[in-house]
């Protein structure tokens, strides 16, 4: 006679199968979940400052400097080239602007349009910015160029991340 609390053969099998099945499912799912959220787990190593040029080379005419940074994009870690327009403004302060056009992301050039020799010019849709990086109203870009975080150490200019204003 089965007592009330006794587990029948059928129940026992059911329980144990669910248990095993559950383990198997978990075993399969865990790596998948981990894989999916992995990039979130190791929150991006903060972008460090990279030496770009000697401060003594900087004049009041913007020059374009290229440098490489490590970029973590999802699962890929890669070296990407970045560039900056570097010059000294009237107050002798160093300015480093991102050349990425705020319209659709082309690279802007200094003084490349003969009609506007004192402006940054975007070859893609004729966007323009004044020397301080402000977008010229009436051209496609709707925001000023990003400004790099910067620091000067031992006569060298270091650039960090470009920040929107």
């Amino acid at each position: 006679m089965a007592k009330k609390n006794e587990v029948t053969r059928r129940q026992f099998l059911n329980y144990s199968l669910t248990g095993v099945g559950g383990f198997m499912a978990a075993g399969m799912l865990m790596p998948m979940v981990r894989f999916a959220i992995d990039p979130l787990l190791k929150e991006g190593a903060k972008q460090d400052f990279v030496p770009v040029m000697d401060t003594s080379e900087i004049t009041n005419k913007p020059v374009r400097k290229e440098f490489k940074i490590d970029q973590v994009d999802g699962w890929y870690e890669s070296e990407v080239t970045q560039s900056a327009w570097v010059y000294k403004d009237e107050k002798d302060e160093i300015v480093a602007l991102s050349p990425v056009c705020k319209h659709l992301g082309c690279t802007v050039d200094w003084s490349s349009n003969p009609a506007y020799p004192d402006q940054f010019f975007c070859p893609c849709h004729a966007g323009r910015y004044t020397k301080d990086g402000m977008n010229v109203p009436g051209t496609p870009p709707l925001a000023p160029l990003d400004v790099y975080n910067k620091k000067v150490q031992d006569g060298k200019l270091y650039l960090g991340k470009p920040e929107p204003r």
Partner: protein
């Protein structure tokens, strides 16, 4: 813009601004002169990647058009024309094809895209700095070519 979901989403929104497709022509061979074939492809990929980075707001970098080194030129041209046709149908106005394979030069007249041929410079043994300079010198010329294509078409 690149051939990725996120870039294409922007493309769909900004179609009127993106009127140019860049199509790298990349040969395949596993049996003869493998290394030269690879170096042509690698060089063209680097240059097209850089081109995209600098002019991403107006051009769409397509997946490469690949062909076997042994494929005869009629058949290559025929296939490439179909791709061109598809792109024009999709609203692209300018197609820039990039190749390091001199054989495309002979077929240039049959194509409606602007073919940009350049010899592959072997980057393998260069140090980083020199590599960057070499590539950016080449890219400068390519940029010039592309912006000229745009200008000659807006003025005409």
């Amino acid at each position: 813009m690149r051939w990725t979901e996120s870039d294409i989403a922007i493309y769909e929104k900004e179609r009127e601004y993106v009127d140019t497709a860049v199509l790298p022509l990349i040969p395949i061979s596993m049996t003869s002169s493998v290394k030269t074939t690879v170096s042509m492809g690698e060089y063209i990929s680097i240059i097209s990647g850089e081109l995209e980075r600098q002019l991403k707001g107006r051009l769409l970098l397509m997946p490469a058009f690949t062909y076997l080194q042994t494929e005869n030129s009629e058949s290559r041209v025929e296939r490439l024309k179909q791709v061109e046709e598809e792109l024009y149908q999709g609203g692209i106005k300018h197609i820039i094809t990039l190749s390091a394979d001199v054989e495309w030069k002979q077929s240039e007249a049959q194509l409606s895209s602007a073919l940009l041929w350049m010899p592959a410079i072997p980057l393998e043994h260069m140090d980083e700095q020199y590599k960057m300079e070499t590539v950016s010198a080449q890219v400068k010329q390519v940029l010039q070519f592309v912006t000229n294509t745009w200008q000659s078409n807006t003025n005409s």
